[in-house]
């Protein structure tokens, strides 16, 4: 029996985030042949982004446009009436800042369960089973909803999206919702994340540890990240030493990441750091100390001074791009 499943889309700086398409793919698994309905809330005209959700596999999309949609409090007010109207059997959203904020609010209002941060979704004998990391990836659990709505968030970059198909057709309808009594107001946003690539969604991360030695020491790492189309991260050691902002920290406290390529520079590999990155697809370690623990999880290691190795790596990658 097919289920009706809602996908809550997410807009960042005027376009849909990739995890929205991954959520549609996950919703397809949950729906088991049923209907997948996209929901999109934000300011301005959302029609085009609604259509994009259709191209990635949503059967139809409901949009709620309102000027006051900046906080999760506003989004909750916009999306809740859609949930009431559609009464879905499942809801899927990305496990992003917005998803982490919004979905528990909705689940609490709906008195439903919620499985957060799933890295895999599968239908096993008619039951939907979610796999999610616990203890920052030191272990995994399989979890299912035992009562009511199948509600889950998925970790970006883990569940592949369906291929975009612009021949797909589906209705995009706009819905009017009253947004009122907003109690949290955003006064200002200070952009710190480099070139808008967020750690949780980055395909390539170049991370620095104590071995980077200073704030300026991050410069070659930034250059490498740039030529690889990735972003820079850090170990707790580098953050505690004041070389970079805590928002870059990867580890058991900090962000847990799963990029395609993780390049650890001058990171010794404390267990707390490994918990945050060891599920990356390919790991490269660059460290002066051949005994460093990071080499135990690395696919490829270079024993050497990062200030010698990283600039050479930048040149080599540039060369590769030129030849390609």
């Amino acid at each position: 029996m097919g289920k009706k499943v809602l996908v809550i889309g997410e807009i960042r700086e005027g376009s849909l985030r990739n995890v929205t398409f991954e959520a549609i793919a996950a919703a397809r698994t949950v729906s088991d042949g049923g209907e997948v309905v996209g929901v999109l809330s934000g300011a301005g005209d959302l029609n085009e982004m609604g259509e994009e959700m259709v191209y990635y596999g949503a059967d139809r999309v409901v949009t709620v446009s309102h000027d006051n949609l900046k906080t999760s409090e506003g989004h909750a007010q916009a999306i809740y009436p859609v949930i009431e109207e559609e009464s879905p059997e499942g809801i899927i959203m990305g496990h992003t800042s917005q998803g982490k904020d919004l979905t528990p609010k909705l689940a609490s209002k709906l008195e439903s369960g919620l499985i957060s941060d799933a890295t895999e979704v599968a239908a096993e004998d008619g039951t939907i089973v979610f796999t999610r990391p616990i203890y920052s990836g030191k272990a995994f659990e399989k979890k299912e909803i035992t009562d009511g709505l199948v509600f889950a968030t998925i970790r970006p970059n883990n569940i592949p999206s369906l291929e975009k198909n612009e021949a797909l057709e589906g209705e995009v309808t706009a819905k009017d919702v009253d947004i009122k009594d907003i109690r949290t107001i955003i006064k200002d946003i200070i952009r710190k994340s480099s070139d808008g690539v967020d750690l949780s969604e980055a395909k390539v991360i170049v991370a620095g540890g104590r071995g980077v030695k200073s704030e300026e020491g991050f410069e070659p790492l930034e250059e490498l990240a740039q030529v690889l189309g990735g972003t820079v991260g850090a170990s707790r050691g580098a953050c505690d030493a004041g070389y970079c902002d805590y928002s870059l920290q990867i580890g058991q406290t900090g962000k847990v990441v799963t990029p395609d390529l993780y390049i650890a520079c001058g990171i010794s590999g404390a267990i707390q750091h490994l918990a945050g990155m060891s599920n990356s697809k390919v790991i490269v370690a660059i460290n002066k100390d051949p005994e460093a623990n990071i080499f135990n999880v690395a696919d490829y290691g270079i024993v050497g001074d990062l200030f010698d190795v990283v600039p050479k790596l930048v040149e080599e990658v540039k060369q590769l791009k030129v030849n390609a």
Binding site: K105, G113, I134, T146, I190, S247, L261, V282, N296, Y300
Partner: protein
């Protein structure tokens, strides 16, 4: 101010995880206050010192959680509450936890509730926003600074690396992110005083709840360890050659370039 902190006892971050009969092996493990909840305790103490009032730390758990509550008291919290679910709840989830907390806060005056933005074990991050929704108070997650001026509260929060400046009002629930403060270590006099501070123990029965009310909505069917990562290839030769080999391996073998 009536300041509350939601606290969870968790595995020490140093601990390796092993599995015994389908469950995480707890024997011999060291336990700590969830690191993000530690930021909440520290901030609560600072808010009290600035604005007056009282800090109450609340945890749901078993008898063993008393140790982490005493640590929070030794840091400077005034009172502690242990809601002991040992006899009533085997495998609760976030729904169960919030049901209990909602009942606990039902007839209490609240100015601010602080919690960690996530617990390092289950890592759902649901309890804070869920509870705020039940109590119908504003909720701001992943905060890195907070200042209270009368009823008005100004907050900076970490949003995937960017800083969002938010204005809101009391009563309020916030969840704490790294960078908010540097939690203090309990002092020796603090530890002595903590032994005499009030620690109240409740069961869900005392909150007019029974087992059916807190029945979870989710269940864990399996726990497993990720496949052990094999140590890879350490390259050799001159740096130039190693770098060339690495780029070639990343392109042809690992196929990530």
């Amino acid at each position: 101010m009536n300041i509350y902190v939601l606290l969870k006892r968790t595995f020490d971050t140093e601990e390796k995880i092993s599995i015994n009969s389908g469950r995480i092996e707890e024997d011999g493990a060291e336990f700590i206050i969830n690191p993000y909840d530690e930021y909440a305790v520290e901030e609560a103490i600072n808010l009290r010192d600035e604005h007056g009032g009282e800090v109450t730390v609340v945890t749901i758990g078993e008898e063993e959680s008393e140790k982490q509550l005493r640590t929070a008291l030794a840091m400077g919290a005034d009172k502690a509450v242990l809601i002991n679910t040992e006899d009533d709840l085997e495998d609760g989830d976030q729904f169960s936890t919030v049901k209990i907390l909602e009942a606990f806060f039902a007839d209490r005056e609240i100015d601010i509730i602080l919690g960690g933005n996530v617990a390092i074990d289950e890592a759902s991050g649901q309890v804070g926003p869920r509870l705020a929704e039940r109590l119908d108070i504003p909720c701001v997650t992943t905060i890195t600074s907070i200042s209270v001026d009368g009823e008005t509260v100004n907050i900076e929060r970490d949003v995937e690396g960017d800083v969002e400046k938010v204005e809101t009002s009391l009563p309020l629930l916030v969840t704490c992110q790294q960078g908010l403060n540097e939690p203090r270590y309990p002092s020796l006099p603090g530890i002595m005083k903590a032994k005499k501070k009030p620690l109240e123990e409740l069961e869900i029965d005392d909150l007019d709840l029974d087992e059916d009310d807190v029945e979870p909505k989710t269940k864990t069917t399996e726990i497993f360890l990720p496949p052990e990562k094999q140590a890879g290839k350490v390259l050799e030769g001159e740096t130039e050659d190693q770098v060339k080999e690495l780029v070639s391996l990343l392109k042809t073998e690992a196929k990530v370039l």
